[in-house]
Amino acid sequence: MDPAEVEFLAEKELVKIVPNFTQDKIFLIGGDIGPFSPSLPVSVPLWMAVNLKQGQKCRLVPPDWMDVEKLKDKKQEEMDSKFFTAMPSDQYMEVTQLILKSATDDIPHADEIRTLVKDIWDLRIAKLRSSIDTFVRSDATHAKLNHLTLMELNTVRPFLTQALDHMHVLRNNISGRIQSTQD
């Protein structure tokens, strides 16, 4: 999957906005949204939030976890743990990327947040790489990957799956099951 497609999936996540307009409930195919009244926070899908913000029709409310102190704690926890820790959002990377791009002015300490999220991402990707190496060198043929997010998995997908597909053939060589599509 293309990262843009992973982002497409993340864009249906709900986020809170504070609109500056009045509008009755909108009956979208994907569900009802609104009503909208100025200054009253309301939940909308991320794609809509980004578009409304671009049209200067709202202010974005950062998700709870998008907070310098919380992210610092998260980073520490990720550093201390041998395993992957649970992220506050399965789309933390995509959400950060989209919100910080379109609504930097609505997010306090945006730069710091950007750096912290990127640090956490880098920590996790480094961890992912070394666990992949361990996995490949071991005799294991499957693994549990709890707490990894779709975007994280996606950055190693073809590489990892191709390597494992190749190893499956090489393993079958040893056990004498030669797979063949032709002679």
């Binding site: 999957m1 497609e5 497409f8 999936l9 864009e11 249906k12 307009f21 509008q23 909108i26 009956f27 979208l28 195919i29 994907g30 569900g31 009802d32 949204i33 794609w47 809509m48 578009n51 005799d139 043929t141 499957h142 693994a143 549990k144 990957l145 709890n146 707490h147 990894l148 779709l150 998995l153 997908r157 990892l160 799956t161 494992l164 597909d165 499956h168 040893i174 056990s175 004498g176 099951r177 797979q179 599509t181 032709q182």
Partner: protein, 220 residues
């Protein structure tokens, strides 16, 4: 569009009633599964038709709306997203049909009556035509000029088949006990795992083929 949509699920006797939003989210899952599965999955013809109807209806409503109505742009954006989803989903299927044509048509021929088809009727027509055009091309340029005993194509030899042993990422949607991940070999014993709801795994696709079909696991 909050009214309930009648939605027939062929696999069960009673008619399931799903909201449009539920159909949409099922379609999103079907899209992801199709993207990640090495073989062609069952055609979700009902989901596709239902969503197409929804966006066509919405387009009509928009035509009637007042010019400059603020809501319209939001509806349009949603339509664009759904059209992308449908189109990407069907494109992905078409690529597989083109690549594994012979294999897929063989499967279709061997299909038991109680099983759902992997191909929508339109896809089936396309697959047949595609197959005929490829074979016609081979025959015209090459096969008919070859010695008599070499003029035919043996699907056993030439069919391009999906690699069911390729690795996939999955998330467990329903607890499933005793999945045979590796068969016993000379050097190692068999390996069985229990899949617990919410867990994520990487493993070969083959052992989970029926679980993807039933929705007990989803591909990620």
């Amino acid at each position: 569009m909050s009214e309930l949509e009648e939605f027939g699920d062929e696999s069960s006797e009673e008619v399931e009633v799903l909201t449009a939003a539920e159909v949409l989210s099922k379609l999103e899952q079907a899209w992801a599964d199709e993207k990640f599965a090495p073989d062609l999955l069952e055609a979700k013809t009902d989901l596709v038709e239902c969503m197409l109807e929804q966006i066509n209806e919405m387009e009509e409503n928009i035509q009637r709306a007042k010019r400059g109505d603020f809501k319209v742009s939001l509806h349009r954006m949603e339509i664009d997203r759904i059209r992308y989803l449908l189109s990407s989903y069907l494109r992905c299927r078409l690529m597989k049909i083109e690549k594994h044509t012979t294999h897929i048509l063989e499967q279709e021929q061997m299909r038991k009556e109680e099983e759902n088809s992997r191909l929508s009727p339109e896809e089936y027509t396309f697959a047949k035509e595609y197959q005929a055009s490829m074979e016609g091309h081979f025959k015209n340029i090459a096969l008919r000029h070859m010695p008599p005993n070499l003029q035919s194509l043996d699907p056993k030899q030439t069919a391009v088949r999906p690699n069911l042993d390729s690795y996939v990422f999955l998330r467990v949607a329903e607890d499933t006990q005793g999945v045979l991940v590796e068969e016993e070999t000379v050097d190692t014993g068999e390996e069985i795992v229990d899949l617990e709801k919410g867990d994520q795994h990487i493993m070969r696709y083959r052992p989970v083929v029926p679980l993807v079909a039933s929705g007990a696991v989803t591909l990620i």
